[in-house]
Symmetry: D2
Subunit: 381 residues, 4 copies
């Protein structure tokens, strides 16, 4: 696949994900951590305009001078930005104009790809990987917007992948010793996967399967949400202050657990893999099972023997720099490094991850209370 | 005009006010006190369905069973409602469906109007006056949504009425004595204007004109926002905590004051009547002028000698029941009485008030810090 | 009684009220609206130093230069002040030093009283009335501090006055007509009781007795706290957000209602007069009884026929200026006028009011949710 | 030293630290993370009563049945506790009673020490180490209480240890390889230092000295607090929201930097070791110097070659369990494990650490924004 084809394919996929939406669905930002779909469409485009076209396409005229201000996310280097929490109140530019913005940037990117495909390969790949990250966020944000509507609208009634099952069972044993961690293959990677380095691991066992809804119902039904002894202290505060008693999107209706999926509200599928739980819940579940979560290093070393790719898997590793991590210069340097505090690493990828956007050295990260991603639990001991 | 014609006229006017909007503009709720335009369209319709069609049209089938839940505003009698602050995150039903809801209810209302026009006259009038109230809120909410967009979109470039001027000047003197207050004429009125009763007024003078932008710039330029001695204690906290230094929608650009109007961002028109100020600002301005605001009773008695109808005029009266005020039974009783605490009365009407929706006994009310209505200042002494 | 004797008597009474306290009790400020006893002792003294000694006693040396900053309450004219919410964290100066401050100022006040008793009579009277107001706040703040201690310490086991009973019953009828309102007698009064003016009252009846605990238990037991229809809208939010289900200091222990009084925790005395309720509760109770609260004007006109002085009585009047109210110049002008927004008037006085500190024109005022004063309910119809 | 002597020595030291305090100083809790000195005195005593005397001394009668409720800190196993934020409002029991409580428990502990010194050695050591931890908190909480008083009271004018200097300079080089981490020596240790395990470290260099005030003034003066590029994203939010521009307790007076120390307010000593900075500030300073903070493992391996014990040193390691960490059963298990989320490890000890309470495997931990401990910065590269 040429870079140009790949560019087309990624950009089209974003728009494809939006095809079931009504214009109104593109607008709201129900909570700080969710962004409006319209914003994702524009922001991924802004990335190409800001970092590639403005820099590298001679005589490029930006589509609209206000867009740089409106669709910057968190790049302080690029100037003042709309506060994240206000994104949902900006109705203009409208959805139609944002699609025009995409078309305009795509057209110019194709000109550029003719001219400088090789020279800019790396930067364009970063833009495409950035867009792929936003594709997953787009899906999870759409789910959040629709799933918090009291009438539970259906996104796509044919989606089957939310209720994936385990293909394996049992535990893998790994021997004590020195192992190598971090990106080594060819192809794209983010700065936070570098540099490759050694770690010492002690003997451990890690489950080949993920925790299922049925497993987790065991925890709920045994009073897991009411017993502080399983919980981290901040987790227990989170449970009591927010009156949490089940995963996100779960609703008890007439005594029976249901959950909202992109297919609408349906009864819990007991065999399906659990999803939408916080790190606190993952940690409490593991304590209840008298096991623990793996570290990100254990996960990476065992990855080849595991059935993964269905849920982002909470690890018990904090998101911190690898030895010899180097923050790139300028705005691109703000991509990862500045988030390395108070977040936990998730490994693997999920049913909502874009095609060709996963690898075993990938480090995803979220705050311990965030549940709206398709995350899950794998146990270790 | 028949009731049926009046019904048509009021209902069409609501839709007319929305004609300059894009679909996206119908969705957001940027702050708690602003509602999405879509919600206004649906809620005014819900009022007819809930209180009239369901009760009085035999065999009426509601348009959608969920709408009663989604579009109730604050009528506890009618059951659980969507929290006010979540209105901006409900993308479905979409704008198109809401217009269909309006058409469906209108069609059934016309059937009902054939059958029971006389019998239900009063209730239908209440529904129409309710919708007229929402028409003004619709305009002020649209202004808030567009006016808080950093690109300041234009609603209608032909609107001239925001920059109205005074037609009179000087003061009216009223003699001490017993006066009668409250609704007495024929026609529609709200419960809070009843019952008519006597008050004793002392000699007072009241301005025939409203405070202008130019007058108010005098207050700003003399340091009015920096001098606590003009302010009520809560007003001073409001100014300092929110860093207030001008009316809502005012922006100082390159040393010159501009304001956002429905025509877009423009330079302040010095002769135009001031608007978008809080009660705190009105009170501080009056103190600076060594005058005061009138009471609502003074205002009503002087009304026939005044030039009014351009701004809702803050009075120094708290919103409280008249002697012999009677709260109606049931849900309709929640219309006014339950808000009679911690709000101030505004009298008159504004440039944004719907046609045929003003009278001198009308009691509008807002919290002392609310500025997004077209309100203004009339002085007394 | 000479002014000098009166000065002594008022000042000693403040210290007498503190005699049951331990040093530790003088320190905390558990909520914003409560001040530490130490602060009351110092602030009332500061008033004499700041407004009288510094101005009128030649060569007066302030006790400590920092005290003006530490013990100002809300007089912006006098300069920067310690934020109200931080008062509870200032441990130095200690209680002993504050008593020394009192002694120092008293000594100098006695010198001044020799010299200028006549000339400064009015200002000194204001200082003494100010201290008397703080005596009541001191008692209610002490009650709050001890009453929120889980071990419920006793302030004074011989206090009987909290459980006062009604001495009268039935209703007084007042005829429609013009009446005069406001201070007219000789003696001290606050600016907010002036100027005397006419009001027109319609026929009304007002209860000679106050609502008792037994009456109010009727409201509680009939589900009054669970039925929105009795409540103002903001009152209902207050009830649901704060999970209110009884007056302040009431605790249900083994199925039986107790309340904390200055004598400790004891069973509710059914015949005693109800106290520690918010305006919201007073208003809801009146609605449940199908009556209403009197206005402050009705109260004042009926006062001579009533049994009052046991509880501060919530009226349905907002705290607003009388016609011709004049704010005094300078810092003294901040005493009352700047609070005339979003507060309700209470009339009468309470069992905790200082001797010789009540009159029928007295206007007390609190926010609608404040309950820690000894307030109560008198019904009208 | 016998266990009995050691018990005496530790217990006396706590009381010695309180000797400069006035009774009033024992009461307040100015912010959530600070506890009243009175509370520390009681809580450390409660630990011995609750976990040792009640369990192991036959026929022991608790001093006061309410104390178990009042002075529990965070042990959910032991039942309901006073909310941490309310500790500052509990005036009774008073300071005198708390000292009596200490004497009562000490007396019974001495009886127990006669009987079961050997058997309970480990538990008593835990109690003593617990009290030593609170001794440091007591000092830092006292500093916070006095340091936030606008008159800056002096705790002890003879304290010299806050302005300690570095004794060494230059960097230590450590070679790549496998190292062992965790407690191994004889003597007391906390559960979080176990179990000893291997880690792989890459080549690194670590400074023998800590950052000084003079060094840090370089960062301040070069605009470090105004340049986002040095900061973690959450750190930058923290700086801008809280308007941070210097370490805690620093005040710029007439253009010159001062800081509050336990000796009072004094000019910054340029050569003294910097203290009272957040992890965010430590991390930003390191970025400005183009270096980094060490990990806790690097620190432990290099410790023997370093000059440490003057400041708690922020590491770039999150507080997480070691491999094979085992949470003890019951209440004691709540000591450490449940805090292993969203906190950063500090290594070493400080000028305020109690004698005989430091070792190189000790893991202290605080949130990234906490500054009131005597912490500091050591750089690595």
């Amino acid at each position: 696949m040429t870079l140009s084809d790949r560019y087309n394919s990624v950009r089209k996929h974003t728009e494809h994900l939006c095809s079931p939406l009504k214009t109104e669905d593109f607008v709201p930002q129900p909570v700080n951590f969710v962004s409006p779909p319209k914003w994702h469409l524009a922001h991924t485009t802004w990335f190409f305009e800001q970092f590639i076209l403005k820099e590298h396409l001679p005589d490029y005229t930006p589509f609209d001078k206000d867009f740089s201000f409106l669709f910057n996310s968190y790049y302080n280097f690029v100037g003042k930005r709309v506060f994240r929490a206000d994104r949902g109140n900006i109705t203009r530019p409208g959805v139609q104009e944002v699609f025009e913005y995409r078309a305009y940037v795509d057209m110019h990117m194709h000109i550029l790809l003719q001219l400088k495909s090789e020279e800019l390969k790396e930067l364009i790949e970063l833009g495409l990987n950035h867009e792929q990250q936003h594709q997953e966020l787009l899906l999870t944000d759409i789910k959040y917007i629709l799933g918090n509507n009291p009438i539970f609208p259906i996104y796509d009634e044919n989606i089957e992948w939310e209720n994936q099952k385990n293909a394996e069972s049992g535990f893998v044993k790994i021997e004590e010793g020195i192992y190598e961690i971090g990106f080594e293959e060819e192809g794209f990677s983010f700065d936070n996967e570098h540099g490759r380095h050694k770690v010492y691991l002690h003997d451990f066992e890690i489950s080949k399967s993920l925790v299922t809804n049925s497993d987790y119902l065991g925890f709920i039904n045994s009073g897991g949400y009411q017993d502080f002894s399983y919980w981290l202290d901040e987790g227990w505060s989170w449970v009591t202050e927010n009156k949490i008693e089940a995963p996100l999107y779960w609703h008890k209706i007439d005594g029976e657990w249901h959950s909202y999926t992109l297919k609408g509200l349906e009864k819990i599928d007991a065999d399906a893999i659990l999803t939408h739980i916080s790190f606190y819940e993952a940690s409490a579940y593991a304590a209840w099972k008298k096991m623990r979560l793996p570290t990100e290093f254990e996960w990476e070393i065992a990855a080849d023997k595991l059935d993964w790719g269905k849920r982002w898997e909470w690890t018990n590793s904090a998101y911190l720099p690898y030895p010899n991590f180097k923050k790139p210069e300028g705005a691109i340097g703000e991509y990862n490094g500045k988030f390395m505090i108070n977040q936990m690493v998730l490994r693997g990828s999920s049913c909502a991850t874009s095609p060709h956007h996963s690898r075993k050295s990938y480090r995803n990260f979220f705050h311990a209370d965030e549940r709206w991603q398709f995350n899950g639990i794998r146990l270790a001991k």
